[in-house]
Symmetry: C2
Subunit: 76 residues, 2 copies
């Protein structure tokens, strides 16, 4: 698993299923979409509500880490 | 099905599975998350890339329609 996957899993589940009703499932999601979503959070193109949490998380991700995390959860 | 579900289905699939790699799956996604995502697009809190498409679609949705569509795709 990617090194930062456990951070994602805290909310999105080790199995990619969100741990609460507010946290979206990542398991089986389209890999290209997960990349775009993380890039959008990193670029602060998503705001409001819990987007603040994801902006902060994505800010520390490299392009390579985004690619690895997207592939990891898409494959679940 | 909600009246506007076929519009969603054009990209996200009649079965809630995105019709291309760039369109996220909606099937089985958390209902509360789908509501929040549509509200965020409607409020133009998501931008960049294909968010422009969703801003335009969500602009015409009432709160009731958002609730119905979220429930519909979450239940798939």
């Amino acid at each position: 698993a990617p090194a930062k996957a456990p951070i994602c899993a805290a909310c999105h589940g080790a199995d990619g299923i969100g741990t609460t009703a507010d946290y979206p499932n990542l398991a089986g999601q389209k890999e290209a979409y997960l990349v775009k979503a993380l890039e959008a959070y990193r670029a602060k193109q998503r705001s409001g509500g819990l987007a603040m949490v994801m902006q902060a998380q994505a800010a520390s991700l490299t392009n390579e880490e985004i690619a690895e995390l997207a592939a990891y959860f898409a494959a679940m």
